[in-house]
């Protein structure tokens, strides 16, 4: 090992004090590293941070960093597997995971947080309103919707949308807090749709019909085929204006994208 590998190994080694490096100096570097990691998780996972608290996030950042070291060179890109890490911790019955086991929805909340974080960093979409004229020129059922790449569907067995909305700083947060609590008691989940009308990523709950239609459209099915995945309760005529206004649908094509 060269001196840089020796130093990095010592930096990530929380257990041993047997090192050739000055302990105070090494501790300063370790303190910076773990504080930066915790800060990165606070930024990328704001809802989880609100839910779980500063002390939990600090410990989580340390545990996670030792298993999933920083490799991206950009802290905003580090932490993408935190949801899986939390899910695994659920099944790992050790005392330090007690807080996670008491809150089994942490992993779902983390998945939604990360999706929102990445969505806001994604490429800007190109809106093509002129293509909607194709609805008057072609058989609408044979057209393909151009769904924005920033649109993501996240099913969860927990009310992750209500939990997220309960932690936004606005007048409706209390309503969603009560709603989330009730759904948790009744073991009701939610499917989240994440989208980005402008710069801020938004989330809303969608029903199974919308989920099926959206998944089929994202997979590249034409409108008729996507509608065949739904039942009569899905109102495409009502859904489309909302989807266009919020840049969920960017345009239509005559061929699969």
């Amino acid at each position: 090992m060269n001196y840089q590998q020796q130093f990095l190994s010592a930096l990530f080694d929380q257990s041993s004090s047997a090192t050739q490096f000055d302990q105070k100096a090494l501790a300063a570097y370790q303190g910076n590293l773990f504080a930066t990691a915790a800060r990165a998780l606070e930024i990328s996972y704001p809802t989880l941070n609100e839910l779980a608290g500063e002390a939990f996030i600090k410990q989580l950042a340390m545990d996670y960093l030792l298993q999933y070291p920083f490799q991206e060179g950009d802290w905003a890109e580090w932490g993408g597997s935190l949801s899986d890490f939390l899910t695994n911790a659920l099944g790992n019955d050790v005392p330090q995971n007690e807080h996670i086991q008491e809150h089994p929805y942490f992993a779902g909340v983390a998945e939604l947080d990360w999706c929102l974080h990445q969505t806001e960093r994604g490429s800007d979409a190109t809106f093509r309103p002129e293509t909607f004229a194709l609805f008057n020129e072609e058989d609408p059922g044979k057209l393909y919707l151009d769904i924005a790449q920033t649109v993501t569907v996240i099913p969860s067995e927990y009310p992750i949308v209500d939990i997220y909305l309960a932690h936004q700083q606005n007048d409706t947060s209390q309503h969603f807090f009560e709603s989330a609590r009730k759904k948790l008691e009744e073991e009701m989940g939610q499917t989240a749709m994440v989208y980005r009308p402008h710069f801020k990523a938004l989330v809303e709950p969608i029903d199974t019909e919308t989920e099926n239609f959206l998944k089929a459209a994202i997979a590249g099915e034409n409108i008729d085929t996507a509608l065949n995945t739904t039942h009569d309760t899905f109102d495409f005529q009502a859904w489309l204006p909302h989807a266009v206004e919020n840049r969920i649908v960017l345009g239509v094509n005559t061929a699969a994208p």
């Binding site: 930096l11 570097y29 991206e72 802290w75 800007d124 710069f199």
Partner: protein, 290 residues
Amino acid sequence: MTSIEVGVGLRHAHYQAAFEEPANIDFVEVHSENFYAKGGATQALLQNVFEQYAVSFHGTSMGLGSLAPIPPQATQKLVDLCSHYSPKFISDHACFNWGHIGLGPAQEQLVHGGDLLPIAFNSTSLQNFADNVEALQDQLKRPILIENLSAYLAVGDNTLDETEFLNALCEKTGCGLILDINNLIVNAHNQQIDAQPYAEQYIKSIRSSAVQEIHLAGCTPMPIGEIMVDDHAMPVPDAVWQAYSFAMQTLGSRPTLVEWDNALPSWQTLIAEADKARSVATQALATRPA
């Protein structure tokens, strides 16, 4: 009268004020990594910043002193960012970040240390650093600046002085230097040596023509014997002002930037620090020997 360019580090908490209260500054510096997103609000914001100010990109993650290969995707992000803008300076630090290590049961993997980690000053590390700088400059198609580091300990085999190392790096690669004066004061504290003689000797030893920018900052004071961390969380202290004045007299006018990254003050307070830098520099330059 010799003119002086003065700027400030522009951080998230000051974005709004920087637009609403345009200040008497010549440039701002942003951290490159904060603008690596492919799209969204940060890109739109950066566009607006460039419309109002001259902007430098200052990196904290490239680790050009790394003996391990720097991942191409890390350099590509900076290259992509710079391809969209014309920054005043592009810079990073005289440090390493990357290395292959084994963690727990996992096989050896390339990790990033998440901090500005000290390098050894010897001929091997010099050649390695120069190779990395040249490769990046080739990609960027322009020279970069390298900043002297605040280090909390010495590592590896040192056979060169830090200034010898940096002077040789500039000669080999054509890169320039950022002289961070607070880093000199931090290093003197952590080495338990007198700060002013150390800083003045350093400034006299550094290759004057290579120094293209000066950084000023303040950090949380620590008692002798305790590690001083370069946290950029305080006003510029007297020791830094004194060494800055000496640098202006010795090197001549250089673009000067005030950095403040933690426990941020108001925008007005930060600008007042920049005003003070202008005042100190103007006084020092007026007494500079012809």
